[in-house]
Symmetry: C2
Subunit: 217 residues, 2 copies
């Protein structure tokens, strides 16, 4: 909530949305309490890690009891700013872009794709998943209030678009392009490289043999 939040480890911050979603599920199932052990099994994170994560925010639970679901939920809602909505633009309405537009990122989410852009004329003016598609040439005209961009254009176009997004005052970019884009350090970029993820999985399979028993991840 306050400035002191900067103390929360990045690894913890990345798990918060995961916790939030699961706690939300518990709540709609009418569950009243939950232990770090139960949570651990559901989200596949060590229970000690969960307790540690929660403890950064103070004492959220009760010894011998666990955590009150309703309290946890309202706490996370505040912490993750579930009330304010972040406006998102999507650039590149191709295979991936279309999938994202059709998917409702609003479910339990504080983000909303407000506008999409593409270069192909036949796409312009259409709506996909309720989101209007504008021409990329008009990017600057429709970026008011947009703080995050999802980049699903061909990799050759990525840097050029990124430059324009920066110029238009973007704060964060979720980049699905294989291109590693260069931006000022005031802009945060997260790369999600699906081909690399698949390759890495294959590499791990071949080189890091796993046990032969029991349940895990």
């Amino acid at each position: 909530m306050d400035i002191e939040n900067a103390k929360i480890p990045q690894a913890t911050a990345k798990r918060l949305p995961l916790y939030y979603r699961f706690i939300n599920n518990l709540h709609s199932q009418g569950k009243m309490r939950v232990s770090s052990k139960e949570l651990s099994e559901a989200v596949k994170v060590d229970s000690a890690t969960i307790r540690r994560d929660f403890s950064y925010f103070g004492a959220l639970g009760k010894k011998g009891y666990g955590y009150n679901v309703e309290y946890l939920l309202s706490f996370f809602r505040k912490t993750l700013d579930q009330d304010e909505t972040t406006s998102v633009a999507l650039i590149g309405v191709g295979n991936l872009g279309t999938a994202f537009l059709n998917y409702n990122f609003m479910k339990n989410n504080n983000t909303k794709i407000e506008v999409a852009f593409d270069a192909r004329d036949e796409r312009i003016g259409q709506k996909v998943g309720g989101v209007p598609i504008k021409h990329i040439d008009d990017l600057e005209k429709h970026m008011e209030g947009i703080s995050v961009a999802i980049l699903t254009v061909p990799s050759s176009a990525a840097q050029g678009i990124a430059d324009r997004l920066v110029e238009a005052g973007i704060s964060g970019v979720l980049n699905f392009t294989p291109a590693r884009i260069t931006v000022p350090s005031s802009v945060r970029v997260h790369h999600i490289d699906l081909a690399v993820e698949l390759q890495a999985l294959v590499y791990f399979l071949k080189h890091y043999p796993l046990d032969e028993e029991e349940d895990s991840q």
Copy 2:
């Protein structure tokens, strides 16, 4: 290559496909040599980290010179087993699944989606991106030689399908579902949770202010 590969840190292993792809680009551009500094700027990984990563495989470079692109390429090709192809199945031909099928994962890749499955009758028998779609009921009939599965079904179906995949002898699963699936520890699961990625980016933007100058990531 050999058994000693188990010594390579996981963080390094995850970067290998990234290096490989970029070295491949350099090679097709006819570039003969490259330094860790150049590589660093391109893939946005600290140059010391790159040198350290490479050093796990021995001395791949020459002091005062850098790395020979051709040598590096052939080395990575061997190391990442770019020769053998891994057969992949995709389960759930919806928004995301269709995007993946249309995308050619074979570009510079040692993976190939051989078969897809869905539950909707109208989909069965069609081909998407050249991949035939079978009925999920026939899963077991078409899993011969498949070692990796991409899971893009609704989250409610994820665990059930995962169980059947395990039964059918799967080695690895790339799970795009929000559900955290439970499998024997002999099966490797990588979760890619797109909603969480977006939420995490937003959280970082709000709570981890960045510099106001210069270029970065």
